[in-house]
């Protein structure tokens, strides 16, 4: 009996496979190059890496693309990423009080008390305190994103970057580099600015530790350092921090008590999928309908307000 969790985010797709005792068997972290090819690639990779006798008895989906991936993979439960992250984190840090999660395009703070969510904050209109910005900056400077953290920790001087808006932050960072600042100093300035922006936007209610930091950005050591500095407390990065949402979704699938899973199996990798979208002209609502086709046959359709085109 194994359970699969899938977290489709804006920048990446995460998979986690657990057994009945909630032990992690395997996780995958992949760049999101479109949900269909990424999910197919993930399934193919699982099939290669795992022994063939693995039987998946339940699938949980989460993340901003959960509604879509739920159909694609055949998920049994579908919960929001806030819940999934909280449940995943509680497994490793049962007494966690605040979860800091910085994703690619959205970032959140989750407050807990005695293992129960008491509140949450998400960025509303601006992705300033999120990771995609670091990614694009690294791309522009031609540095692998995985090196940014280590480079930044080698800073020598404090550099302040105007970080309220990431578009201007990029401009400011490039300008500072052009005026002869050291790369390491600028990168640390950017990390500091990102965390400052994130905390200013979302962390307005101060809670006592323990704190955890997760999401793919938690692998950036400079961000963790900046977060600890600005909070003035230790921040725990739980195991599988990048894939905790998927892990939480897998636990939700396990606890859901599904008897007959809708999972389509790892052979999903062999199917052909297409997406078709059109605007329904049947009434003034003009709903945008999206359909998933499997080998030419529509298997799911959604987006219709009245419901007649949803299945």
């Amino acid at each position: 009996m194994h359970y699969l969790g899938v977290d489709v985010g804006s920048v990446s797709v995460k998979f986690a496979l657990i057994d009945q005792e909630k032990n992690v068997i395997d996780t995958l972290y992949m760049r999101n190059h479109g949900v269909i090819p990424t999910v197919k690639k993930g399934m193919a990779q699982f099939r290669e890496q795992l022994p063939s006798d693995i039987e998946v008895s339940g699938v949980g989906a989460t993340g901003s693309g959960a509604g879509f991936s739920k159909v694609l993979i055949g998920a049994d439960v579908h919960k929001t990423e806030i819940l999934a992250h909280a449940i995943g984190t509680l497994h490793f840090v049962p007494d966690v009080s605040v979860i800091f999660e910085i994703g690619g395009e959205d970032s959140k703070v989750i407050f807990l008390r005695n293992g129960i969510i008491t509140g949450f904050e998400m960025n509303r209109i601006c992705s300033g305190g999120a990771g995609a910005f670091l990614d694009s900056l690294a791309g522009r400077l031609n540095i692998p994103i995985s090196d940014v953290g280590h480079l930044a920790l080698e800073r020598e001087n404090e550099v302040s970057i105007a970080s309220r808006c990431t578009v201007f932050a990029t401009t400011d960072a490039v300008h500072k580099l052009n005026s002869g600042y050291r790369l390491e100093d600028v990168l640390m300035g950017v990390c500091n600015g990102l965390v400052r922006n994130y905390l200013a936007m979302l962390y307005r209610k101060v809670s006592p530790p323990p704190y955890t930091f997760q999401g793919a950005t938690s692998r950036n050591v400079a961000l963790r350092y900046a977060l600890e500095q600005q909070l003035g407390a230790e921040v725990i990065v739980p195991p599988y921090a990048a894939c905790l949402g998927a892990f939480g979704a897998a636990i939700l699938a396990l606890e859901n008590g599904t008897t007959q899973t809708r999972f389509k199996g790892f052979q999903l990798a062999d199917f052909e999928y297409q997406i078709r979208s059109f605007i329904c002209q049947d009434c003034e609502n003009h709903c945008e309908i999206t359909q998933i086709l499997q080998s030419g046959e529509p298997i799911a359709s959604n987006g219709s307000r009245c419901g007649k085109r949803n299945f």
């Binding site: 901003s64 919960k79 929001t80 990423e81 806030i82 819940l83 129960i116 969510i117 008491t118 509140g119 949450f120 904050e121 998400m122 509303r124 209610k205 009434c283 003034e284 609502n285 003009h286 307000r305 009245c306 419901g307």
Partner: protein
Amino acid sequence: MKERIFTLPLCGNSWMPFKTAAEKLGVQVVVPPPITNETIALGARYSPEGICLPFKVIIGNYLQALDQGANTMMFYINSRAGSKNHGGGGGGMCRLRHYGHLQQLVMKRAGVDVDFLILGENGGLIGQIKEVTGRGTWEIIQALRVAIKKVRLIEMTEELSWRYRAVEKHPGATSKALNKGLEVLQGIDSFKELDGLNLESFFAGIETVEREPLRIGVVGEFYLLLEPASNCHIYEMLGELGAEVHRHLGLGEAILRYPPGFVLGKLMAWWLNQSIPPRSETAKIAEPYLTCSVGGHGRESVADTIRFYEAGYDGVLHLLPMGCMPEVTVRPILRKISEDYNFPVLTLSFDEVISEGAIRIRIETFVDVIRLRKERGERRHALPGS
């Protein structure tokens, strides 16, 4: 003089009673087409950028109704409410007070030649109607009587639909029944027939499941409470998640709380056989947190959140258009109430570029969290807005 063809902004189903009354008085009316993204985009293009969402939607309504032959825009402002320093209605201390005149300005700038009729601006609602329709007082009173009854029945039908949707077996069944019920309602124009209507019968055919729904109160800005197209259809969203919704103010309640005139108010309450909590009571409940009016229905939002808590609800949703002065003022107060009472309150702010996904994830999480807590036996807990 050319014949006047009236139109009015859409606000939930409020066009239905208006149309009934207008037809009774022999006035031609064009109802704007249902609000779509196109409507909102159209309105936003001509409106000032920083103005609240309802204004933009209304301008979109007007422009689309214009295409369908309307030549006079009608708007209702309750000037009495403001004078009482209690907020509420069109005369309240918020931008709504200026809506009528701003709309005229925006239309002029858009190069549209239309007439405006701002009802209730200087008090004397019945006098104005007389002038427009040329009918006598008695006839007008009769039409208003049917209209206000219809307002109330529509409201009650909607409330019933929220209760049914939370326990429906087949998703969508309630929405269908609701639409059919509203059609039946709209077909009736006599007070007696309306009075004899059994609203429950609209929903009689719905199969339900055995489950205890969550009960969620909704407070906040009036237009967002009424118009589903402006609030991403959250009532349907909540219903499908198994939560029963209760709105703190409907159109009928709002009219009764802030009547267009003292005598008319008493008459309406008598026609509907309904008592309304006096404003002084609302003020008293809100007093520990808010000692004055902040315009709009801000004070109601505060008092009704506490009322919802005391009535044993599981949580409160607070809706506001981005930049709404009264509700922005109320927002931190609700957060404080949430902490003090250990009672979940989620604030959602809407504008024309909001994505439905962003609202959905917040609502789904809110419902999940409340349900988890309820299952673990700790019914009340804090959930400050996000």
